[in-house]
Amino acid sequence: MENNNNNYDVVIVGSGIAGSIVAKLLTNAGKKVLMLEAGLAAGIAMDQEANYKNYQDYLSTFYNASAKVPNSPYPNIKDAPSIDVLDIKKTPSTEGYLVQMGPIAFASDCTRAPGGTTLHWLGTTLRMLPNDFKMKSKYGVAVDWPIKYEDMNRYYEMAENEIGVSGNVKDQNYPIEQKSVFNKDYVYPMKVIPISYLDKVMTDIIDKNSKIILNDKAYKLYCISTPQGRNSIPNYDYDINGVAWNPGTKKLDITRNRFKEGYNPVGSNWDPYTGQRCEGNASCVPICPVQAKYNALKTLRKCDMGNLSVKTQAVASKLLINETSNWINGVEYKTYIKGSSPEYETHTAKATIYVMAASAIENAKLLLASGAANSSDQVGRNLMDHMTVLRWGLAKEPLYPYRGPGSTTNIPTFRDGEFRKDHAAWILPLDNWGWAWPTFSPGSDVTTAVSEGIFGKELRDRIENRVTRQFFTHFECEQTPDPNNRVTINPEYKDNIGNYRPVIHYNATEYMLKAFEASGVVSEQFFDQCGIEDFTEYNPQDPDYVTYKGKGYSFAGAGHIVGTHRMGFNKQDSVVDSDMRTWDHENLFLVGCGNMPTLGTSNPTLTMSALTFKAAEAILKQLEQ
């Protein structure tokens, strides 16, 4: 087959982790792949020097950014804008890429650059829990998945291998019936990332605390280490070597080392010896300077490059549908030259199978713009995130935050339980970066003290004394699907090169508000027992300020954009089947968090990656039929 002849087996839209996993598996199985990527060409450079230079540009942009938000290191391209947290305003608002109709603003962002949002993700890689897959039958809430946890296990192992997860399986003690969710003798590729000093102090205190009362029930808070996609010391008991397509069985095989050689940490994209271990830069969001943290370009590099063509600055705008067969005929895309001018050229990419991996909001928007895959009327609906309630206070003793990865320990107590019949579950990570998120500390502590006229030794002492005692945690509440939380399009709202901008309708249901209320009840007792003086403040002027039973809460987004093209049991209830093939178009697959029917209390990317392995398996099977 000719690469330059539009003769591809598969076109993939997007080079994030979802697109890159598909590209890696397919090209290594001998399939010809064309990848379309909206971001700038510089970001995809595969040779060492150009790759290094581009990444140093990102780093220096980050150093010089006054607001060091998740997208701050990466170029925001007018012709392919990124959703950005700096654009979140009271609704309705047309600021930024999203058009936010409200009543409240969707609060998370993502990155349009080669490698996608894993460039700035934190890297937490918890699995979902068994009950998360059956919320309807277990708790009468939301929907069940068409897949059970047990079906996911092998795909989770593939995803943990791809991302390179560090963690301790023995620590993973969850509030569930099962003793373990892992296969017998399973270990993570690398040993647990050392937990922070703060975690140690807090775990000691929390272990000694009495139970917490919520709605007349008693709960014991406890701490466990958090598995994460950043390099630590290889685990020599880990024997998985990789994942390969088996044309005989038409399945993906997990291949194993015969001898216990352990996992080889994947270093930076410009130098394999850089980033072999997490070095404690404490800047994982938005950028890991040494790439000890996983990003999707690490996966993309493992493609068989002879089978991969990548077109950058290529923004997919529409799927072309064959009206008789209902098969997808091509992807229309626009290539821009500069990124800032409205000039572009339109092209069509053709292949046997099409894979949309542009992340949840963009995938849904492209389907809507194409009139594709929507016979269920579910495209764009059920937009979800972890609605995140922040809590902060001052401990009695120094905890020495602002060191190490963003979070290394979590409290899993409220990840599962009967209370999910009434209100959302949540995970409660202990955060290592002080009040940086809620108050822009420590810079804001300095400006406040100085404005009070404090200077010299007294200033130095005050900053040391207060900032080293900052404690911060956040309740990541599982948002359940609501058909009215949705992405739509409107011809009134287009971007610089005439593509639709996503129009968002978003709200918090009572199920969520009750969880916010519960988070207040829990954190009050929790802080009190730990001797932490509460400094939490929710301002009615915050863009995402909501009230419930007379009390106000501000929530933030967690960056977990989920659920806009849900997977389900049949053509009527969902957009894709359990292989992530659209019910309406046999040769169109969707990958990414948009497929997830519910969210659980884990950060979604590990589960989404596991699903992406499953999708790639189905695509390979279909290609070889």
Partner: protein, 151 residues
């Protein structure tokens, strides 16, 4: 008014207002750059009077530490004094910013607030694998020297 060389006084003033020693300040390598920053962004008259008055105060044999502190607080720290130079100078040293603007990559990395809290600027000066699991080195060292705030 006699024109005076502000560059020598700038180091002196920085030490007084930040609470860091002159050696610590010089070690950041930012002295020249910050001096230029204030010259560029502050009204000349404010700068001249600021340094003349400060010089006079610090060299006045009649003053003791307590009275100097009082005068610094009442005459130099208010935002209305010398175009807010004292406040701006402290924020510059601690954060690397002039107002909302980051002066340079180096100024971000050399922000004194990170040393103050026994940490390091996110994304730079990384202390190495597992270091976050232990007390900060600067705290451990101060314990050895049994300084008053050693833990």
């Amino acid at each position: 008014m006699e024109p005076i060389s502000t560059s020598k006084l700038f180091l002196e003033a920085s030490a007084v207002f930040t609470g860091f020693s002159k050696t610590e300040l010089k070690a950041t390598g930012m002295l020249q750059s910050y001096h230029n920053t204030i010259l560029k962004n502050t009204n000349k008259e404010d700068i001249d009077y600021f340094f003349i008055d400060l010089n006079q105060l610090l060299t006045d044999p009649k003053q003791d530490a307590k009275s100097i502190k009082h005068i610094l607080t009442t005459q130099f720290m208010p935002i209305s004094a010398y175009g807010s130079l004292a406040q701006n100078m402290i924020i510059l040293w601690y954060t690397g910013n002039w107002g909302n603007d980051v002066i340079s990559s180096a100024s971000y990395i050399q922000g004194l607030m990170w040393d103050t809290i026994h940490a390091h600027p996110p994304g730079a000066k990384q202390p190495g694998y597992g270091s976050w699991s232990d007390l900060p080195l600067s705290v451990k060292q101060s314990t050895v020297k049994s300084s008053p705030n050693g833990k």
